[in-house]
Symmetry: C2
Subunit: 439 residues, 2 copies
């Protein structure tokens, strides 16, 4: 069994914690059993380990998410990078080609695709073995996991299985799928539930050979790079539409455990500890209020009810929980650059952006580079950079010359000059980028 | 007539906009007729000019407030600096000595003391001439202004005049004072109002000679410096207690116009425009919500009612307006350093404080130095400083050597090394202070 996690999403709905780079799956807002903050990505990975899944894990994602994935999981997973964003069908095809050509998986092996960010119980992962068995037994071309609905939601697609809900056995029973229904109104949703309908939670299991045979009808290829180079030719559509709905036989396993889609502040705060995060004081009369402060300045909250307060280097949200679902329109038309990023070498925060009278920008970042990690050699064509080491010890190379760098040392890096940094201890440095005219 | 403005206050109750240095009188949260933001200090000064008062103005304050006063009013007022904080009696004595010895005022001239931060109508300042006349006419040793109460407040002291309120004429009528009552309960407050009682708003008028003759019984002096050096000997008490309540004759003039004490967010927001300040988006369903954002990152507020949201480099407040009155306890026991200061040369914001593993701090500030102004020569014994110019043009002196400084230039200033900066254009620079061990 090979597991492919799909990691996408722009995450505007959890602004200011999420942004185009820091999608919701990377936010450390849930807690593990030991009370430590972890991200949804880290939670899903940990749960898979705890469930004892003997499976290789590959994450399919865009280039912007590679650094945060490496920052949070290190080298414990393989990462397949989509050349461009083209929906779930092309992404899953690319991951399949990667497993086939690069990991040399047997075509008969089961590939299970799951979203990276469901908030679920451990049973969810145990059930993946049941999907694997069903695929290997040849029950159907594609085996899905369906979530037992808890209310007639208008937000999800429904999978209608062959039998009535009354006759369904335990979650492990595998039922043929009769049809799929897109997001219905509440009236129809209730009808689907009465028929035993399940929420489509985006979990697909199939033999690798099954998908590769479909791909063969679309592309000519002999290696992974062939598929990668023709990525733009794959239809920009969902896997449900391109594959599942056209399959000869589809089966579903019902999952009866906890399952939450933490897509909005309102749903996310349901699973969050009410204990505030960061430098926060909350008055005793606050009711059902969640406060998350990622800034280095204190937040004081008094007399609030049913609210979420979230502060990050990107901005500050103060919202009634129900209203917070409508945040997208307040942030999506603004070209907000991410002010915080996790990278493979550590993380940075934008401290300031100054614009002078002539419109030239000076961007000041604080960078934390972890001991032993490296900022790879790079050159900038449009700005000069000044580095000031605040603490720690590093070797900084500027145009091939290496310098031992300690607190108080500065490095001025002119346009076009190659530079890199190797951290010997945890290093904190200030980076100022000053725009300059081109030649 | 000489006017003395008392500028004090630590301003914790308007946190995070106010702090130990930036008292509430310096916050630019009210608007002048042209819709421009101004501070209470600037408003009071402007109103005095508009009232056509032919008076010299002196501000009595502590050393920490000199820079913001100069930054907001320039050299238009004299400033008397209290050697230490010792309540209003010593502060007024020092100001009197300053007028007498340094400004060579006639002892017969009227000195009028007023708080720097009342939110009042223009009539308030017109009435000062009426106080002056009363003093010059010898109506009483001390003439007060009393505010006509609008409700039985428990927050103010009451001045009880001789006649019943029913027989009081226009505001200009001057009445002998029978007694003073400290902050009463609501029941007593109503009784005082029925008797014609007025709120004590801290406005005192008297002949300079009157106060100097009292001081003569306490200190021996022959010049201003004598009084300044013996400042610690003056009782740490209020002017009301030390002088007014012991005077042979006190009279009061009733002020019937607008008067507000903007000491809390709840009262301050009553006079503020509801239009948010700074980079703010407020959803249409917000009701009676004030948002002030002094940070460079956006604030989004959704679905709030009767709330104040204030963000500054010192911190972020999200509070129900009524609850905001209790803010003091959430901020007073914290040793919060001011993260923003106005100075005579411009202003600075602390962008970051990093502490390394060994407990050494690196503080990063952004400084804006206005064209033509100067950061005077100084030396630091405990930290090295790195300056990086982000924009503008300055002459920077380090150990007597002058350097023309432009965007991208860095200056490393070791401990004990004298340095100064003269701005030739508006200059923005980054200053990093890195703590070092002493010798």
């Amino acid at each position: 069994m090979k597991i492919v996690l799909l990691s996408g999403g722009s995450g505007k709905r959890l602004w200011p914690l999420s942004n185009d780079i820091r999608s919701k799956q990377f936010l450390k807002v849930v807690q593990n059993g030991a009370g430590e903050a972890e991200s949804m990505l880290q939670r899903v990975y940990r749960q898979m380990q705890e469930a004892g899944l003997d499976a290789d894990i590959t994450v399919a994602t865009s280039i912007t998410q590679v650094e945060p994935i490496r920052g949070q999981l290190g080298d414990k997973v393989s990462v397949v990078v989509e050349p461009e964003r083209r929906n779930t069908f092309p992404a899953i095809v690319l991951a399949a080609a990667y497993l086939y050509f690069e990991k040399h998986c047997s075509p008969e092996e089961t590939m299970i695709v799951l979203p990276v960010d469901p908030y679920v119980g451990e049973e969810y992962f145990k059930m993946l073995e049941c999907l694997d068995m069903a695929v290997q037994d040849g029950v159907a071309d594609i085996v899905l996991m369906g979530v037992r609905p808890t209310y007639p939601s208008e937000k999800y697609g429904y999978i209608i299985p062959a039998k009535l809900s009354g006759s369904l056995g335990k979650g492990e029973e595998i039922l043929p799928v009769v049809e799929f229904k897109e997001k219905p109104d509440i009236h129809m949703a209730q009808k689907f539930i009465d028929k035993g309908g399940l929420w489509n939670c985006g979990v697909f299991a199939f033999r690798l050979s099954y998908l590769m045979s479909i791909v063969q009808t679309m592309l000519e290829y002999g290696c992974y790079a062939d598929v990668e180079h023709q990525y733009g030719k794959l239809e920009k559509t969902s896997f449900d539409y391109a594959v599942v709905e056209k399959a000869d036989s589809v089966a579903v396993v019902a999952y009866n455990g906890e399952w939450k889609d933490l897509g909005t502040w309102n749903t996310l705060t349901e699973v969050m500890d009410e204990k505030p995060t960061g430098d926060v004081a909350v008055s005793g009369d606050c009711v059902n209020t969640h406060v998350i402060n990622e800034l280095e300045i204190p937040v004081v909250v008094m007399g609030t009810k049913d609210m979420v307060v979230a502060a990050s280097p990107d901005g500050i949200l103060v919202a009634d929980k129900v209203q917070s679902s409508y945040i997208k329109k307040y942030v999506e038309d603004r070209d907000l650059r991410p002010m915080f990023e996790e990278r493979s070498w550590g993380e940075y925060t934008v401290l300031n952006i100054s614009v002078d009278g002539g419109g030239k920008r000076a961007v000041t970042k604080k960078k934390l580079v972890q001991a032993g990690r490296k900022i790879e050699e790079t050159k900038h064509q449009h700005h000069l950079e000044v580095w000031t080491v605040l603490s720690g010890r590093a070797v900084i190379s500027v145009q091939g010359r290496k310098h031992e760098a300690l607190a108080g040392d500065t490095f001025t890096i002119r346009r076009g000059v190659a530079h890199s940094l190797q951290a010997e201890e945890d290093v904190v440095l200030l980076e100022v980028q000053i725009e300059e005219d081109g030649d």
